[in-house]
């Protein structure tokens, strides 16, 4: 072999290219395997949380529907709704009172972690409420509110909407109160803080169970143009509009990749699915930066070792070439 004809630079470039290729192939292979495994773990967590959420929601709705059939409820609520009293917020110099002969604690459920419970007229004006300053206010019973007619089905997806008064998403559940002739006389409405339903997904208040830890986001269309989380456990008063491929796919019940940029533009491994029980998307995400740490270390090792080998070959070849040219001279 005529060593003088070999170009050291070409050898160096080839050697570095081979090193780079091996590095990238290895990195790709590692991240693919780790990413797939991470995704499978997250999917499992996602399924468990979705089931826990759906179960909590079903329990909640059943409890509310059962209460409507409890003894005395219909009679008492219709008595209130039959009142000719005009329900509206009182003037400041009037004392806000409910009908004295009605014991609200007997009428309203006590086994619910509700923010407020109300009886609404057929025109959806609050006639009686655990929150007395709501009396006389209007409460929509559909569209933003989850309307459940037990005569049809209680398997209805919850609606979340941003309540300007609370400054955060909320969910209100309304059921019709019918008289003996089956005429709708009013509504039973329950305001639930999504925090309760959100918490139902986590066993023993553990926000994460995987290692490295996962983040769970329950997102919904909470206003005309915004998708937000239904509850923000870290900053409970912050509900910025969120956007990511995972969020879009989950809300549209659409398949998609598990490697994507999340709403903070961070690369993540994400498992997600649409939760019809609450018209929401559920996402379990983990940062790629943490998951792929080992793969990066391995890549760095390959690049360093490969680089050193390439440099060594380059130096040896140059020496050989220089010796060869000296001999030839």
């Amino acid at each position: 072999m005529n060593i003088s004809r070999i170009s050291c630079s070409e050898i160096l470039i080839i050697s570095l290219s081979v090193t780079g290729s091996i590095g990238l192939v290895t990195y790709y292979s590692d991240t693919n395997a780790v990413g797939r495994q991470a995704y499978e773990e997250q999917k499992q967590v996602l399924i468990e949380r979705a089931e826990a959420f759906a179960e909590a929601k079903d329990t909640l709705l059943s409890s509310i529907a059962d209460h409507l059939n409890s003894p005395g409820f219909k009679e008492q609520s219709i008595k209130i709704l039959s009142s000719k009293k005009r329900f509206r917020p009182n003037r400041s110099n009037f004392i806000s009172t409910t009908d004295g002969d009605l014991v609200t604690s007997r009428l309203f459920q006590t086994d619910l972690e509700a923010e407020s419970i109300s009886i609404l007229t057929a025109g959806a004006i609050i006639a009686l409420s655990t929150e007395t300053n709501k009396i006389g206010r209007y409460q929509p019973v559909q569209n933003t509110t989850t309307y459940i007619d037990p005569e049809k089905s209680i398997d209805v997806g919850l609606r979340f909407f941003k309540d300007p008064r609370a400054g955060r998403p909320t969910t209100t559940i309304a059921l019709p109160i019918r008289d003996n002739s089956n005429k709708r006389r009013g509504y039973y409405a329950v305001d639930i803080n999504p925090k309760i339903l959100h918490a139902s997904m986590f066993k023993e208040d553990q926000s994460s169970i995987l290692s490295p830890p996962e983040n769970t986001y329950a997102v919904a269309y909470t206003s005309l143009s915004r998708i937000t989380v239904i509850h923000n456990p870290i900053q409970p008063d912050q509900y910025p509009s969120l956007k990511s491929e995972g969020i879009n796919n989950s809300l549209n019940n659409r398949p998609g990749p598990y490697l994507y940029l999340n709403h903070e533009r961070k690369p993540v491994v994400g498992a997600y699915q649409y939760i019809p029980a609450a018209n929401m998307g559920l996402l379990v995400e983990r940062d790629q930066s943490v998951l792929f740490k080992e793969a990066r270390k391995r890549l760095r090792k390959i690049l360093v070792v490969g680089g050193l080998i390439s440099a060594s070959i380059f130096i040896i070849l140059r020496r050989l070439k220089s010796q060869h040219s000296q001999k030839a001279a």
Binding site: Y39, P89, R91, Y138, P140, Q142, P255, Y274, S289, L299
Partner: protein
């Protein structure tokens, strides 16, 4: 060193996202990799069910009503059609925000139903759906009733298609509405300590001033939480755009010409827009509008007004009185509806009418979808639907408008709505579909919100809005 490590990490993560995304380009690489490292799958995760099957149910997306009577009416008609035809329907209800965002997703390649009806989707998405070829033409469905439609209905559903460069009807009209003004007759009387009817001024400036003055009277009378005017100031509701359009019209500001040209660049039109926005936001600045109006959603002016927290409000449907039909005193005696005051030039303010329309998407269920639509618009069904909605929208059919339900003399709500709708003008998005993007982004509402929340000067907010609108139009022309 830490920063270098971080950058390196970010770069690799992005490479990883990209290399999993660039599937076709990496197909060859995948093959090579599979040979060397035992195979890598590019299969997408997060599988969902597909709607592609031909033997599936007819999928209908529908706006859920604000009260159950509306929903009951469409459900009942649907179940009867199923029984009569043997077809199966999956009728899915969405609220305003969700159906609107799902409509936007359709434009981005998201899933679509066979039929769709959304309260604001017709105005915000209809012309774009038609322009981009998502919809079936509907001439054959509506031809039977063409002569029965009220003036303006067909023009408002006749959209331009990009490929054919022609205009066709691309939807099935069901009902029509505009924005109406409602007020509490009894609260106004109590504030003025009188049992007599109070005249509402019908000239522009005097009309709005009237509510400010009466707010003070109501507060003096003890209604300490009340505001005079319940106008939305938020970008989170489509109502803000719709109502601001009345202010543009009252100030004679023109946004788009009949040939579809954007007129906002003309200094005289810009000046009128600034005046209209100054007028609109001044009520908030004066404290005549609830402070939370900058955060309202579509339903929140209903909630605020019906909770007696404002003396008057304006609303793009008759849902406010409609919700109170079960309470005759509230519906007929306490709440009243009036027409819009005359514009600054003393002329009647002409307004956009919003045709509530059903879209049929091009897909594999078009025959069933057409059959459903034909059935729904039969007068006997359409009257059940619009009357079931408790008069929230007016029927598009002249014949149905003859029914006693729409002609009750003591019903100020229906009478005021009929008068308002009769003074219609064509909506800007009919002249140029690019304006649907302006509506979807709620550009005018964003400007109003900025003025109220961030105290941005009106001329700056208007200039920002004009810039955004120009950019939308330029992008549209390029697309």
């Amino acid at each position: 060193m830490g920063t270098c490590e971080q950058k390196y990490q970010e770069l690799l993560d992005l490479v990883c996202v990209l290399e999993h995304r660039l599937k076709p380009q990496l197909a060859l690489a995948s093959l090579l990799l599979s040979l060397t490292v035992g195979g890598c799958s590019f299969t997408g995760a997060n599988q969902a069910t597909s709607q592609a099957s031909n033997d599936r149910e007819l999928l209908i997306w529908w706006s859920e009503g604000y009260y159950p009577e509306e929903t009951d009416a469409i459900e009942s008609i649907t179940r009867k059609w199923e029984k009569a035809t043997g077809n199966k329907v999956k009728l899915v209800f969405f609220n305003d925000g969700e159906i609107s965002q799902r409509a936007t997703e359709i434009l981005n390649g998201g899933p679509k139903p066979d039929l769709m009806y959304g309260y604001s989707v017709g105005d915000s998405h209809g012309p774009t759906f038609a322009y981009k070829g998502f919809l079936l033409k509907t001439d054959d469905i509506i031809k039977e009733f063409k002569s029965d439609y009220s003036p303006g209905i067909i023009e408002n559903i006749t959209y331009l298609n990009k490929d054919s460069r022609k205009r066709f009807p691309f939807s099935v009209p069901l009902s029509v509405s505009s924005a109406y003004i409602h007020y509490w007759k009894d609260l106004l009387q109590e504030a003025n300590e009188t049992d007599l009817a109070i005249n509402i001024p019908d000239t522009w400036n005097e009309f709005w001033e009237f509510w400010g003055v009466n707010q003070q009277k109501a507060i003096k009378a003890g209604f300490v939480d009340i505001k005079g005017i319940g106008l939305p100031m938020a970008s989170s509701t489509s109502d803000t755009h719709i109502l601001f359009d009345f202010f543009l019209e009252a100030h004679e500001a023109k946004i788009i010409s009949q040939s579809g040209e954007l007129l906002l660049t003309k200094p005289e039109e810009r000046k009128k827009v600034i005046q209209a926005m100054e007028n609109y936001t001044s009520f908030y600045k004066k404290g005549w509008v609830p402070s939370k109006a900058t955060e309202w959603g579509d339903v929140d002016n209903n909630i605020n007004f019906l909770s007696s927290l404002s003396l008057m409000t304006a609303n793009p449907t008759l849902s406010i009185p409609g919700s109170q039909t079960a309470d005759e005193v509230a519906y007929y005696e306490r709440i009243a509806s009036v027409g819009w005051p005359k514009g600054l030039n003393g002329k009647t303010v002409r307004t956009d009418i919003s045709v509530k329309q059903m879209f049929i998407f091009d897909g594999n269920k078009t025959e069933e979808a057409k059959s459903f639509a034909r059935n729904l618009i039969k007068p006997e069904n359409l009257s059940i639907y619009v009357e079931g909605s408790q008069g929230r929208f007016l029927p598009v059919s002249k014949n149905i408008l003859e029914n006693p339900f729409w002609n009750e003399l003591r019903n100020t709500h229906i009478q005021a709505s009929r008068e308002t709708v009769e003074n219609y003008k064509l909506a800007y998005q009919i002249y140029n579909p690019a304006y649907t993007e302006v509506r979807r982004q709620n550009i005018w509402a964003q400007a109003i919100e900025q003025v109220c929340v961030n105290n941005i000067p009106v001329d700056v907010a208007v200039d920002n809005a004009i810039e955004s609108i120009e950019s939308i139009f330029k992008k549209w022309e390029r697309s």
